[in-house]
Subunit: 454 residues, 2 copies
């Protein structure tokens, strides 16, 4: 049966773009975390929308389940096979349409990388409102499918706010197109909005119309020492109110900052490390340095380090960006990505520390995140595997009890499906299941992802 | 049968809030345009979510179709009965929750009016990002259901961008709640986004969490004389690029401006009326007057009238706001609400004038709209009824041919359902129908609205 399907796929995409050899499929079978992997039935790499539609039709005819895959940079196992699915890699759909500078908009293929979109927009004096560390691999299609977040959400919103139109192949192989990009178009349900964040379970995205934003020529970055999380929340709220050019507000707790410094071989920014550091960046058409300095001073914050030229700014960002490598170098962490209401963040971290000390006093916990969005990334190292499951359970229960979210920006994938029924009420969950059945009645699109198997 | 249902309804909401008497139902049976009306089976006015759920359950049990109704200010017949439906009026759900000033957010009942939300936000030094003339009657629930637009879309986006969470009663009477309002919460499909703009066909909205925006203390309004639509499009794009505080850019063509002046008894703002006038408003924390003046001068526009204090500003807005009354006083217009890509607006209006002259040289055409969104309101007076249908057909065909939308912000209702299959490709339409069947299998929620009857 697999042979027939492989032949059909080769007929659609050419022999070199549909394969089953284990050395060829390896890169498509395991995700970034190396926690999630499986053996695909085959991997197919269509070149354009028509080929994606033909591939999906062939899979539907064969009753073959599909895992759509972009840059495979997800952290929750949503883009790798579980049990013999066909992996449809979209990376060949990487075309970049002409930038419409007046409308500030561009249509790109689902396989275009985030970095390529940044460069493409920059060449026309514009920018794209989402950025995060995996920019060279992550694709636009995957970012739409997972409603990606990142550093600049507090200024530009999540990926959903950047999507002005979509083209997608539905489960029956038909192609739905809404790429017009009209700012007002009240003709029917918001299918692009529904597909955004649906993690490949409702359709396969092939093209996206993206909102672009003005490129800002002047930037300033500052690392500010603070007494704790509540101060970071309050300062961020205050800066947002007075500085529309505030683009990032990254919280780094003391233990994380120390790890960054030690692992990255970085200069200590403060004589004494503060309980919390807030990395802020402003970007504007005119130099925002004085406005930021004034706002920070008005807020009573002293001792911050300011970076204006590129090297200084990169030096400050290094404290944040060295963290992921530093943690990876220490071992395989328990990784959580949660949102707390602003006032709940400090209490959550206090409880977290107590809980971990109780579970295993030798474990190390690193907390950082996008404080303007209430989004904390928690990385726990050194927990025994059995303790890790227990820790995750109790930490995420605490998040829900505080009115937070168990997945801020990483999504559900296969890793967190059991948390969906605990996060959504019965009617909401039933509606989601009904939508899934309506758009994918045979359950062939990314089975096991997002919704728990019934 | 009707008596049994009426009794059931009275048992839920009390005798005075469920009725069938023709004098009592009159206000719920006809919409603003007076074009759309019907006799309801009964009108029911639940007081809260629990009563809405009970009402919907009773209707589902009885197989009774429902028309949800907010302020009944729609223009496309989406909120009035067609043939014996139960009208569920939501206006009693008008509670206003406490404003969260830090998160800039508030939860309000679906029946709260737009004006009440404005006042509620203003009392806490904040504002709500949507405004339009029907503010005293239009309700938040109706505005979400229709994804309302209005004057400030170019700064704050459509209603969808203001919705941070929803509570809704589904077709089976179950209640789905997502009111947490977390800025990042990637746990499942975007049900609030899907319900926004679904025109009461998928669920009945009961509560909404709204995004608030900073209140701006300083405002300036200007009426600028221009040579035509293309100049207005170019100037608006230019002002948006340099003035983030630009909040409105309303285009008024010469004939419309003249009608406003004559009907409203207004002072002529220009010695000679220009082909087009652009009404712009900026709002900021510091006085934006000089920045606007400079930007307008840099763009080479001369002869504008500027208003700074409230009376001056209101005097300028009168040229725009007198228009609706002026048109209504002249007769019952053919009303169209279309979006054109920016570069297509001028050509569309040229073609429109040629077409109307051909159809009926005596008719008068008034064009105005939100130029930053490509949204034109077309009002044609004096067309014979037979010519009106032909005119609508040919005008909207022209809109589609130019890549525009046949409904920018008014929605589909019952008036424009036949345009949906011409605006959406087959796969997209099939997906919309599948979603409708999934969430309302018996087809009881606002039947005949949005999707053409199959």
């Amino acid at each position: 049966m697999s042979d027939t399907l492989l032949s059909a796929m080769r007929g659609i995409v050419g022999a070199s773009h549909a394969f089953t050899d284990s050395d060829l499929v390896a890169g498509y079978a395991t995700d970034w975390t190396r926690k999630h992997s499986g053996v695909p039935r085959l991997v197919v790499r269509p070149a354009d929308t028509a080929e994606v539609a033909a591939v999906v039709t062939a899979c539907a005819d064969a009753g073959a389940a599909i895992v759509p895959q972009g840059g495979n940079t997800g952290l929750v196992g949503g883009s790798v096979p579980r049990s013999g699915e066909v992996v449809v890699s979209l990376t060949r759909l990487d075309d970049l349409g002409p930038v419409d500078a007046t409308a500030r908009s561009v249509v790109v293929g689902a396989g275009a990388t985030l970095a390529s979109v940044h460069n493409h927009a920059a060449a026309e004096g514009l920018a794209f409102g989402i950025d995060f560390a995996a920019r060279d691999q992550a694709t636009i299609g995957g970012m739409v499918a997972t409603n990606a977040g990142g550093m600049h959400v507090l200024r530009y919103g999540m990926m959903r706010a950047q999507v002005e139109g979509l083209e997608a192949v539905l489960a029956d192989g038909s192609v739905a197109r809404r790429l017009g990009g009209l700012p007002k178009d009240n003709v029917g349900y918001d299918l692009p909005g529904l597909l955004t964040g649906s993690e490949g379970t409702l359709a396969i995205l092939t093209r996206v119309r993206l909102r672009l934003v003005p490129a800002r020529s002047e930037r300033v970055t500052a690392l500010l020492p603070l007494d704790g999380i509540d101060d970071a929340v309050a300062l961020t709220a205050r800066l947002r109110g007075t500085l529309p050019e505030l683009e990032a507000a990254e919280l780094i707790l003391e233990t994380s900052l120390r790890l960054s410094i030690e692992h990255g071989g970085l200069r200590t920014p403060f004589a004494v490390l503060p309980p919390a550091a807030l990395l802020v960046e402003c970007a504007a058409d005119d130099d925002p340095t004085e406005r930021l300095a004034e706002a920070v001073e008005d807020a009573g914050v002293r001792g911050g380090v300011v970076g204006v030229d590129r090297r200084e700014r990169e030096g400050l960002w290094a404290y944040r960006e060295a963290l992921l490598d530093a943690i990876a170098a220490e071992g395989e962490p328990l990784k959580l990505d949660v949102t707390l209401p602003g006032t709940g963040m400090a209490g959550f971290v206090d409880d977290l520390e107590v809980l971990l000390a109780e579970l295993d006093p030798r474990c190390r916990c690193y907390v950082f995140g996008h404080v303007g969005d209430g989004n904390l990334h928690v990385n726990v190292l050194g927990l025994a595997e059995s303790a890790a499951a227990d820790a995750e359970e109790r930490i995420l229960e605490g998040v829900l009890a505080r009115g937070g979210s168990v997945s801020a920006e990483h999504g559900i994938g296969v890793a967190k499906t059991r948390w969906v029924p605990r996060s959504r009420d019965a009617a909401d969950l039933a509606a989601m299941r009904a939508i899934k059945r309506a758009l994918d009645p045979a359950g062939l699109l990314n089975p096991g992802v997002l919704l728990p198997r019934a």
